[in-house]
């Protein structure tokens, strides 16, 4: 009996060793350990042994079974590892094929710039104000110190509609509407659509502006310079420097054109800045006392500044667009780039 068991063990271990792969190992298990297997068959002979010998041989049977079992397990797990390694080795994707995609949506560049500028000014404590695009002459011109028959009106070619209404030529009437509604202190920013009857490569009959207004006690022209410096640095990067030049707007005094160092050449001079190193991006100034008179603020009590910028101009500089008309042609090949 013992000899038979030892022989079976030797045979089983040899079979395990020779078995190739998971299936062969399962067959070995059935052959030796299955219900009709060789070990089971041998165990049937246990009954014929003496009562002294039976537990000893029984013990031996268990030991041999455990050993075969564990050898099979080891074999199986290594066979599975091998199979996995082989599968991994054979599997490949072409990572250069394009992925499965949806079409991306985009916002219009004008919207992007308006949102960005409003966000910057929100951080500086300005809230957003709005006003109508079809506007009274009084808000668009008179209250802003453009008297009738004043040459300054030539600066803005106006579209007229009936009832003494017009398409606003700038976002500045929002200043007037806000000051009539609110008392100082106030800080507002007013993005919007404006119109002038002019159309060529650099002028569009419809375009966009953002107006800013801050009125409080003791506001200075130096504060205007400070706010605009922070703003342009945030919009165009810390390196841009700001230059204020005297200019003229009927509703501000002193008035300034605000230049930033050219974002393309860094101030060395290029085609975009016409070799001056500077780009004009803003008009600004201290609110004219005449404007305060129209909105019934006391010009001796408070002071403030206003500024306005063209959104198209900023979008063109920011995204390297050289023809303003592209912004309104709505060619999807253009729009998808934003």
């Amino acid at each position: 009996m013992r000899e038979k068991l030892e022989l079976l063990k030797t045979e089983a271990l040899k079979a395990i060793e020779e078995a190739a792969g998971e299936d062969a190992l399962q067959e070995v298990r059935i052959r030796f350990l299955g219900r009709k297997g060789e070990l089971t068959a041998l165990m049937k002979g246990l009954g014929a042994l003496s009562s002294e010998e039976r537990p000893v041989v029984g013990q031996l049977v268990n030991t041999i079974r455990d050993e075969i079992e564990s050898r099979i397990e080891v074999g199986l797990s290594s066979a599975r590892e091998q199979a996995k390694a082989k599968r991994i080795q054979s599997e490949r994707v072409d990572v250069t094929l394009p992925g499965r995609r949806q079409l991306n949506g985009t916002k219009h560049p004008i919207t992007l710039v308006i949102e960005e500028v409003c966000d910057i000014f929100a951080g500086l404590g300005f809230s957003v104000a709005e006003g109508p695009e079809i506007e009274h002459d009084w808000y668009n011109f008179e209250a802003l110190n453009f008297p009738p028959e004043h040459p300054a009106r030539d600066m803005q070619d106006t579209f007229f509609v009936e009832n003494n209404l017009l398409l606003r030529t700038h976002t500045s009437p929002v200043q007037i509407r806000t000051m009539l509604k609110q008392k100082p202190p106030l800080r507002i920013i007013a993005p919007g659509t404006v119109y002038r009857c002019d159309s060529d490569a650099t002028h569009s009959p419809m375009f966009h502006q953002i107006e800013g207004l801050m009125v409080d006690k003791g506001i200075t022209f130096a504060d205007l310079k400070g706010i605009l410096t922070v703003f342009t640095n945030q919009l165009f990067g810390q390196k841009s420097s700001v230059r204020l030049r005297p200019s003229f707007f009927p509703f501000t005094e002193p008035s300034a054109e605000v230049d930033i160092s050219c974002v393309l050449c860094g101030g060395k001079g290029c085609r975009v800045c016409k070799n001056s190193g500077w780009l004009e991006i803003l008009g600004a100034g201290m609110v004219d006392p005449e404007v305060y008179r129209h909105v019934k603020y006391d010009a001796d009590e408070i002071s403030g500044f206003a500024f306005g910028m063209g959104i198209e101009r900023i979008a063109m500089l920011k995204y390297g667009i050289n023809d303003m008309r592209l912004l309104f042609e709505n060619d999807i090949r253009f729009l998808r780039q934003f």
Binding site: R100, R101, Q102, L103, G105, T106, K107, H108, E115, A122, G125, S127, V128, E133, I134, H136, E149, P151, F159, F160, V161, E162, L167, P185, R187, T193, Y195, C197, S199, P205, M214, K217, G218, I219, T220, F221, A222, K225, G226, I227, T229, V230, V242, L244, R245, P246, S247, F248, E253, S255, A256, E257, M286, D288, P289, L327, N330, D331, I332, R333
Partner: protein
């Protein structure tokens, strides 16, 4: 405004290069928009002496010259005949580039070598025409660039003036600015006048009938003039700043206008009835032929200069044909006047007649400079046309007023600008600007600005001058000390961004179209005759008819945008626009609500190796809107097939309702509208009233923790009437109110083979799940049976 560097130097002594001058002016608010150097790039054209000239051996008309440029003797072939050995000439050396990009190279002409070219004035851009080469005066340094040697080096500055700076519409005006900035003095151009014996008021007379429109009118009389072409210096000076030379008298008036900024007019005095000037308003409909030959019909708001009988000039704008200086003119009445800016502007604008003169008068000429300009011009005319100036000046000045004294607080200037100048610095700046200062007992000042500064009327105007002349670059950048008053963006502003973000997340591209459209847009949309969107707001002065009315719908431009892109072979489009529309409100301000329009066309997916490319349909559009409403947390949305709009396919469109409010519509564009816009493939659109979305959007909400128990799903396939809206099935399921029904979905829709006519097969999946426990088969079976019973009883479905 054009002015040259050399001309300015005649009036003020400064030590700046043209570039430095340009910076200085720009930083004073006189923006230099362009600079043009005469003789730029012509440094290789030098003074040379012709040492020898002989006949070219192979050409009759050419000569061989030996030319000395101060360094060497060069051989040059020349075709001109008007010179000889010993003449000083302009030699373009090898490498020179003449105007017109004409490069001078070493060449062989008929076998003889030529090392350069002898130039004519025309070739150097100095004259329109020239006969032969340019002969230079003897004694110039050989080898020196010609432009330098002749003193022709100059720089033309183009200055973009703001409308407030009327005083700078002249050379002297700009010179004054330079002088003020640099603390230098300047000199007015001046010609001494030798007056005749006869007193001017014996010869001519001036009557002002309207002292409001014409507060001052001065005149001189010059007799015995000979009208002739102007001398070369005058022609060149005028040409340099863009004026055409006419004759010696008219040119002088233009020159003095450019020098001093004051427009003048010269009349042929013999054409003036009674040698008299009457300044009055025109009669209604009075006719007048201006210098340009145009017949003009005048109004009583127009000011005219008349003789004893008829208008002879449109005051401050243009002279008349009947009294203009002609070749036979001998006696001249020279006018120097001042007219009310608003009056000049009104007339000039109405007649569309904008002249150098009206440009200055409507911005405000110097009423104190009338006589200076008159005298300068009279002196020059006498000098150039050989006339005699009568004794004295007629100076009718009924509108004389005291100069306004401005109360000024120096500390206010510092406060406003944010700088710290001491009083003496402020006083110095104002003095340099020729302001007079009178100290007041309370420490404030009373300042009187010079008459040419019509823009200085108030304290703030003086403050600006101080900031400007002291230098904007000296103003520090500070942050305001103010309380923060910022409000959060309103719900309207927040949602505006939110809706855009939502549509972009659905893969849509935002477009922006013009707010104006064509008047026939409503027709193309098939809008009914009484549709309120036909009540458009019309522009009085549109650029073109296609942009002459304000939009009442965003759809026409959207469809045009689609068509334009499709023509460019961009076929798969998902576009939206979110802008205002403009609705007339009778006599009130128009209403400008924001609308959202979306449109989709083409394939659902991107083109690709792994993607099926199904065409978009109604449900793609609806899905976008459903997503948006979910993001906006608008609930209770109903899709009501009530053929809402004439521009939609009636069977494939609906209103979008929330409660009783119609918030928009959606549908396939009507085939006829599609044709009207040149669209070949179907387009699906939606239109949403943003203002309503703002009202309905719920920004406050709470969320629920998900159940921790397992779910179980049951399907029901049923045969229903083809007309039955799918939504009623879902509603019927939900009407069996059970908290254990987690979700109901339609997962299959089929009609066709195997389904009887007039029916469709719909399959729904119900997912059951409890918040409290794992549901048993029996519990689920009970609810599921109730649902099936309800479907069968209420909707008469047959379960398959």
């Amino acid at each position: 405004m054009k002015v040259t560097y050399n001309w300015l130097k005649e009036c003020v002594d400064f030590d700046l290069t043209p570039e430095q001058l340009s910076d200085l002016l720009t930083m004073l608010g006189l923006e230099v928009e362009g600079m043009e150097k005469s003789g730029a790039g012509l440094d290789d054209v030098v003074v040379a002496l012709v040492e020898e000239k002989k006949q070219h051996p192979n050409a009759d008309k050419l000569s061989l010259c030996r030319v000395n440029n101060g360094k060497e003797i060069l051989d040059v072939v020349c075709g001109a005949q008007n010179f000889q050995a010993g003449d000083t000439v302009a030699l373009a050396q090898i490498g020179a580039v003449l105007p017109g990009d004409f490069k001078i190279k070493r060449s062989k002409i008929r076998g003889e070598e030529s090392c350069g070219m002898l130039c004519s004035e025309k070739e150097l851009g100095l004259a329109e025409e020239s006969a032969g080469i340019m002969i230079l005066p003897a004694g110039l340094t050989l080898g020196q660039p010609v432009f330098e040697a002749l003193g022709l080096k100059d720089t033309l500055l183009e200055i973009g003036l703001t409308p407030n700076r009327a005083d700078c519409l002249s050379v002297i005006g700009i010179a004054r600015e330079i002088a003020a900035k640099l603390g230098k003095s300047y000199t007015y151009p001046h010609t001494p006048i030798r007056e005749g014996e006869e007193s001017v008021d014996k010869i001519i007379g001036v009557t002002i009938e309207d002292a409001e429109f014409c507060p001052r009118y001065a005149a001189r009389y010059i007799s015995g003039c000979r009208i002739a072409p102007s001398p070369e210096w005058l022609v060149k000076r005028l040409n340099a700043v863009g004026f055409r030379s006419i004759n010696n008298v008219v040119d002088v008036t233009n020159l003095v206008m450019m020098e001093l900024g004051h427009p003048l007019h010269a009349f042929d005095c013999d054409q003036l009835a009674e040698h008299r000037i009457v300044v009055r308003r025109a009669g209604e409909g009075e006719g007048f032929v201006s210098l340009d030959g145009q017949k003009r019909s005048l109004l009583s708001t127009d000011l005219v200069i008349c003789d004893a009988e008829r208008p002879v000039a449109l005051a401050g704008i243009m002279g008349g044909e009947n009294s203009e200086i002609s070749d036979s003119t001998t006696n001249i009445l020279l006018e120097s006047a001042w007219f009310l800016p608003s009056a000049i502007r009104k007339t000039s604008k109405r007649l569309g007649l904008h002249t150098e003169s009206s440009h200055r008068f409507e911005r405000g000429a110097d009423i104190g400079g009338v006589i200076r300009a008159l005298d300068r011009a009279a002196g020059l005319i006498a000098e150039l046309a050989g006339g005699k100036v009568a004794k004295g000046v007629i100076d009718s000045y009924p509108g004389k007023s005291e100069p306004s004294r401005i109360a000024f607080r120096p500390e206010r200037a510092n406060q406003m600008i944010g700088i710290n100048l001491v009083d003496s610095q402020i006083r110095d700046i104002l003095t340099r600007l020729e302001c007079e200062i009178a100290d007041q007992a309370d420490g404030s000042w009373e300042v009187t600005a010079p008459t040419y500064r019509v823009d200085i009327e108030r304290e703030i105007d003086l403050i600006e001058e101080i900031a400007r002349v002291n230098g904007f670059d000296k103003i520090p950048a500070t942050m305001p000390e103010a309380q923060v008053v910022s409000d959060r963006p309103s719900a309207h502003q927040q949602l505006e961004r939110f809706v855009r973000d939502g549509l972009v997340a659905s893969g849509m591209n935002e477009i922006i179209n013009f707010s104006f459209t064509a008047p026939d847009a409503a027709d193309k949309l098939l809008l009914g005759a009484d549709d309120p969107r036909r009540a458009v707001i019309r522009l009085a002065n549109p650029l073109i008819e296609e942009q002459s009315v304000m939009r009442t719908s965003l759809l026409p431009e959207m469809l045009e945008t689609l068509a334009r892109n499709i023509n460019l072979r961009s076929l798969d489009l998902k576009l939206f626009e979110m802008r205002r529309i403009y609705l007339a409100k009778g006599d009130n301000m128009p209403h400008e609500p924001i609308f959202v329009v979306g449109a989709i066309s083409g394939s659902r997916e991107r083109e690709g190796w792994c993607q099926a490319r199904g065409a978009v349909d109604f449900y793609d559009a609806k899905g976008i809107v459903e997503n948006l409403f979910e993001q906006l947390r608008i609930e209770g949305v109903k899709w009501v097939a009530d053929t809402p709009e004439p521009f939609y396919h009636p069977g494939k469109s609906c209103s979008i309702m929330v409660g009783k409010k119609r918030v928009g519509s959606i549908g396939e564009i009507h085939p006829t509208v599609q044709e009207n816009f040149g669209l070949e493939k179907p387009v699906y659109c939606f239109e949403l009233d943003f203002e309503q979305l703002v009202d309905l959007s719920c920004q406050k909400y709470t969320v629920k923790a998900p159940s921790r128990f397992p779910d179980s799903s049951r399907d029901i396939a049923m045969l229903v009437s083809a007309e039955l809206p799918a939504e009623s099935i879902i509603e019927c399921v939900k009407s069996v109110k059970s908290s254990d029904v987690e979700r109901v979905e339609i997962f299959d829709l089929y009609c066709g083979t195997g389904i009887p006519e007039g029916f469709k097969s719909i399959a729904i999946r119900i997912r059951y799940r409890s918040y409290e426990r794992t549901l048993t088969e029996d519990e689920i079976g009970l609810i599921h049976k109730k649902i099936i019973d309800s479907l069968v009883n209420k909707l008469k479905v047959s379960v398959r």
